[in-house]
Symmetry: C3
Subunit: 426 residues, 3 copies
C-alpha cells in the first residue's frame, strides 16, 4: 500500500487540520478515526485491548463514545453545543437527559475565570460523572431558569485502542517515540506531536537506521501503562526513547531529561540542542508518559521533547490551543531536531584503538598530511587523533565530539577512516 | 522530680544569667554547680572521672578550684580582683602568694592591646603556671613599685565532671548534642549553648522522637576525649550529632560540616537553613569538640552549629562576651533551628515503592483528584508522585524534598498516605 | 668530568645561543652536535638507534644530513641560502641539482603569505620530496627565468640519536622530563626548553631528590616513540612526567593536563601555579610528545609545561622564533616553577595518624602552645591539626595543603614534627 508522504511543512499542517475536529478520548471511535487517517501516511499495527484487562496496577476502562451533547437555556436556545467544539463536554461524561435550574446545573459547569473567553479541557475517566466546559463569559450571560441538558454518550465494555509503527534497523535494539492520542480538539497537545512523529518515521525509513525505531500512538497514562504491561519482555531491548508532545507551539525546544538524568538519550539531545535557544529540564514525575516509562521499576532512558513544556503556556488545555496556535515552522524544527538527534544516536558507537601504544603512523596509511611544521592541523586530522586517543572502550564518539569540540560528523568520519585502515574496531 | 520548664526566651535568659557568675573550668566545683542548676531543668547523669585516668592519648588532670585571687598595687589597692570577674585569673593557675616588682609581675599579666578596655580569657591546663588577665588600660595605669599577688587555688587529685541527659526515642540509634561547660563568665561561649540544649531536650521529650537524643555537657577537649574513651562501644549507634556553641550572639546561624562533608546531619542542616541568612563552612580541625568527634579514627557524622562561628566575633574570649552580648531572640532561633533539623532527621526515611512499574492508580485509592485536565496539580499530589518515583530504596525523603522542591512536611505526609494505601514500605 | 654550571639566566641564554645555529632534525649530525654541547653541562647517555628499527607502529627512518643548499636566480645571485638560515630548507629534503623555470620551482617554495617577512619552518620526514622556505616578500621579488637549485643533502641508513640523563633519587620510581631536540634554528621551540631542562637537572642533583628524575632529549614523535618502545618495561616505574617546550617566550606559564586529568603531576602543577598569572588546559592529543606518553595504551601521568602554548604565538614555527624572542627572565621563571613543582612532588607523601582516636595531646610532646584561650592559632599548630585529621592513608600532604589553605612547606614541616613525635607513619 502506498502511503502519503509528509515531506513539507504544509503536509504536516494539513494532517493536523484533518485530525483537529475529531473527538478523541482515552478510548473510542475518535481514536480509531485518528489512527485511520494516520495510517494513510505510515502503516500501523492497531491494537484493541478489551475493557477489564488488568494492566499493571490499572484496569482498562469501559469504552466511551459520544454522539451529541448540548445545554438549552430557558428559551430553548443551545448555549453549549458539543457540535461546535468537542471541548464543551467533560471527557467520559455519562449520558444525561434532564432539565434543571441553573443553580443545579452550575455544579456541572467548568470555566476558566481568569481566562474568561476560553473553554477549558476537562475529563473524568475514572469517576462516573458528567459535565460541560464553557467560557466564563458565556456562563456569566446565562439567565436564571430551567435548562435542558443532554449528553448522548455511551460507556460500555469495549476496547482501548493504540497503534504501533516500527521502522526496522540494522539491530533489534529499539528506540521508542511515544505520542499521546487521547486529547480532542487541542492542536499543539498533541496533534502536532502526532504529525511530527509520522513524518519522522517516514524519514527514518528512508535512511536505513541503525536502531529499530518503534512509534507508539496511544492514550496518555492508561495507554502507556497498557503498552508497558503487554511489552515487559521487550523492554530490555529499549535503548532510548522520546515522549513527543507539544511539538508545534512557537516556543523554542525544551528537553526534559529521563529519570536517570545521564542516559544516552539525555546526552544526545543536550548535544544536539546546544548552541541554539532551548531549555533542558530535570526529570519530574509529572507531564506526559515519561512518567510511566521512567517509573522506578522500569527506569528507561526515555526523555521528553516539547516546544514550550507541559502546562507552560496559557493556551494549554484550553480552546486557544487551536490550529492558529500551531506553527508550521515549529513543527518542521521539531522534526529536524529529532532527525538530527537520532542520527547522532544511531552513530554513537564505542571503538577500541588497536594500536594504542603511541600514535599509529597515520602518514604511511595515507591518513595524514605529509608536510610537517604547519600549525593549522585540519579538522579531519584532529578528529582522527582524538578518536584514537579516546577509543579505549569507555568513550563513545559523542564523548569524543564533546571533549574535542569537533563536529560529530567529523568524528564519525574519522572513526570510519581509522576503522577502514584497521586501526580501530567496534 | 518535677523539672523547671524552659518554655520562653525569658526562661533561657534567666538560666544563662544564673550560670554566668560561676567560675567554671575543665574540672572543679564551678562545673558541678553549673550541672546542679541545669539539673533543675533536665535530669542529668553526672559522671566523675578520677584524676590520672587514661583517656585515649590523654590523662585526666588534677582538679582545680579557686577561692580568691587578687593583685594589690604598691598602695595596697586591689587593681585586679577575681571577685569582680573570674576572667581575671588564668584558668588552672597554681597558688601564689608573693610580692614582686611590676616588671616581674608583667610576665604573668595578659592583656589585649588592640582591645584595651577588655579582659582576655586565658588558661594553662597542662603547663603549671599562674597569671592574671586584665584590660590593657588597667595595665597602662599601674604605677611602678612592688605588687602583692595572691591566688588561693588548689590543684589536687580529684575528678573531671561531666553530665549526660538522654531523651529516649523509638529506636536506640543515637543523635548527640554536645556542649562545652568549661568556660567561666563567657555568656555566648557557651552558656547560651547550654541553655538552648536544655530547652531542646525538653522539647524533644515532649514529642516522642524517633532517634534517641543524648545530650552531653562536658569540658572542651578533655571532656569529649573522656566521653569518647568511655563510650567507644556506643559509637556504632551514633547516627548523627551536633556540637552546639555560641548559640546566642546576634549573628545569623553558621553550620560547620562534619569531616565527612556529606553526612546526613550535614544535609539536614543545610536543608533547614536554606532560604534564610546563614553560612555553611567546611570542616576544619579547629573549633569546638567536633575536632574530637571528627578525628579520623572516629569520623562521626557530627557537625557544629553556632551563630557567628568560633573566634569570629571581637567579643570572643573576652569580658565583652557578657550577658549583654547574648540575644534572647538568637537563642530562640537557634532552638527553633535545631528543633526543625531534628524533626527532619527523625522523619527522613527511605521507602520502597511496592508498585514500581508504571504509576499506581492513585484515584481508585482515593489519593488523587478525579477531574483531569487541570494544570494546577496540588502539592499533595505532586508529593505522592515524587515519593513514588524516587522510592527505590536509594533516596530518602530529604532527597525527595530537595529534588522536587516540595516542603519536607508534604513529602512526609505523602509517604504516610502511600504507606497507608499499601503502596510503600519502609 | 667537571660539568659547566648553568647557574644564572646568562648561562641559560648562552647555552641557547650556542645551540641556535645548528641544523637539527629528527636524525643527523645536528642532533649529535647539540647533545655534545649539552654534555658539557650534564652527563648524557647517548643512544643511537639504527635506521629500520621497528618502534611500536613506526620504523626508524633514514638519517638525514645536509651540507649546503641554495637557489640562484637567473642572474646567478643566491636568493635563498641555507647558510643564512637552516630554516630555508624543508627538513629531510632529498638532494637536488637542477635548473628550472620559476613556475616549476614555485611548487617547492613555502612561504607565509600572512606574515610576508618571515620564513616558515617545514619538514617532510616520511614523504621523499624537497623544498625551500622563504619570505613571501622574497618570493614576490623574484624575476621570471630559470633558477639553479641545489640541495646537498644525504638520506642514508644511519641512526636516530637521543640522550638520557638520570638524577638518581632515594627511590627508583621515576619522573620524566622530556624535551624535543629536532627543531633547527627555533629558539623558544625548543632550545629554551633544552636549556631549562639541563639547568633543572643540575639543581635536582644538588638536592638529593626523592624520586629519580630521568631527562629525555629526543626528536619529537619518532624519538618519544622510540624511547617508549625501548623502555616499555620501565614505564611501571614512571610516576609522573613533564613534556617541556617553549620555555622562554614572554608569556605566562601554561600547564596542559595529562590525559588522566587528575594525575598527581596535574594537581602539583596546578597547585604551584595557583595565585599567579597562568593557564591550565585540558589534555588534547596534539602538541608535543605528551601525545605519545598519553596515548591510551600508556596513559602516563605526563603533562606539558610551556609558556605560551603550542602554536599559540605568531612567531611559532617561523624565523621570528629567534634569539630575540626568548626572554632570560621567562627561562628562569620556568626553571623556578619546575623546581618548586618537583619539590612538592618529592615531598607529597601520604601518612597515617597513629593516634587517630581524638586528637593526640600535642602539648605533652612539646608540639603545642601551652597557653589556651587565644584565637590566633599559629600556622604550625593548624598544620599539625590538619595533618593529623587528614592522615588516614587517603589524603596526601598536597590534599592537606589544599583543603587547609596552608602553605605546603608548613604542612610538610608539621608532618615531619608529628612523625618525629611518633604520631605519624608514612
Amino acid at each position: 500500500m502506498t502511503r502519503e508522504p509528509l515531506d513539507t511543512g504544509a503536509d504536516l499542517r494539513e494532517l493536523v487540520e484533518r485530525l483537529y475536529p475529531l473527538c478523541r478520548s482515552i478510548t473510542g471511535d475518535g481514536v480509531r478515526a485518528t489512527l485511520e487517517i494516520l495510517g494513510e501516511h505510515i502503516p500501523l499495527d492497531v491494537h484493541e485491548v478489551p475493557t477489564g484487562t488488568q494492566v499493571l496496577d490499572w484496569t482498562v476502562p469501559q469504552e466511551w463514545n459520544i454522539r451529541d451533547a448540548w445545554v438549552k437555556d430557558p428559551s430553548g436556545r443551545k448555549v453549549v453545543d458539543f457540535r461546535e467544539s468537542n471541548l464543551h463536554v467533560v471527557g467520559y461524561s455519562v449520558p444525561v437527559a434532564e432539565t434543571m435550574p441553573l443553580a443545579d446545573l452550575r455544579e456541572h459547569l467548568h470555566t476558566l475565570p481568569e481566562q474568561p473567553s476560553l473553554v477549558p479541557y476537562r475529563t473524568s475517566y475514572y469517576a462516573p460523572t458528567w459535565g460541560f466546559c464553557l467560557a466564563q463569559d458565556t456562563l456569566d450571560a446565562l439567565p436564571n431558569g430551567d435548562y435542558e441538558v443532554r449528553i448522548e454518550s455511551t460507556l460500555d465494555d469495549g476496547h482501548l485502542t493504540y497503534a504501533e509503527h516500527v521502522v526496522p534497523g540494522e539491530v533489534t535494539d529499539e528506540v521508542l517515540v511515544s505520542c499521546h492520542t487521547c486529547h480532542p480538539s487541542l492542536a499543539n497537545d498533541n496533534l502536532a506531536g502526532i504529525a511530527v512523529a509520522a513524518a519522522l518515521a517516514q524519514r527514518l525509513a528512508a535512511r536505513k537506521p541503525h536502531f529499530t525505531y518503534r512509534f507508539l500512538f496511544m492514550p496518555g497514562t492508561i495507554g502507556a501503562i497498557t503498552w508497558l504491561a503487554r511489552n515487559t519482555e521487550r523492554l530490555g531491548k529499549v535503548k532510548a526513547g522520546i515522549v513527543l508532545a507539544c511539538a508545534g507551539d512557537p516556543g523554542s525546544p525544551t528537553y526534559k531529561r529521563s529519570r536517570r538524568g545521564d542516559a544516552e538519550i539525555d546526552r544526545v539531545l543536550e548535544f544536539v540542542l546546544a548552541g541554539r535557544p532551548h531549555k533542558v529540564l530535570d526529570f519530574s514525575p509529572y507531564g506526559y508518559d515519561e512518567r510511566q516509562f521512567c517509573s522506578p521499576g522500569f527506569n528507561l532512558g526515555v526523555g521528553s521533547l516539547t516546544r514550550t513544556p507541559y502546562a507552560g503556556y496559557p493556551e494549554y488545555h484550553t480552546s486557544a490551543d487551536n490550529l492558529d496556535f500551531v506553527s508550521t515552522e515549529a513543527m518542521e524544527d521539531t522534526l529536524a531536531t529529532l532527525g538530527e538527534a537520532f542520527s547522532v544516536l544511531d552513530r554513537n558507537r564505542r571503538y577500541v584503538n588497536l594500536s594504542p601504544y603511541g600514535e599509529p603512523q597515520l602518514g604511511k596509511r595515507g591518513l595524514y598530511d605529509s608536510l610537517g611544521g604547519r600549525s593549522d592541523a585540519k579538522t579531519a586530522q584532529m578528529a582522527m587523533l582524538w578518536v584514537l586517543n579516546l577509543s579505549d572502550g569507555e568513550h563513545s564518539l559523542l564523548d569524543v565530539a564533546q571533549r574535542s569540540g569537533l563536529p560529530f560528523d567529523s568524528v564519525v568520519a574519522a572513526a570510519h577512516a581509522l576503522q577502514g585502515a584497521g586501526l580501530l574496531k567496534e
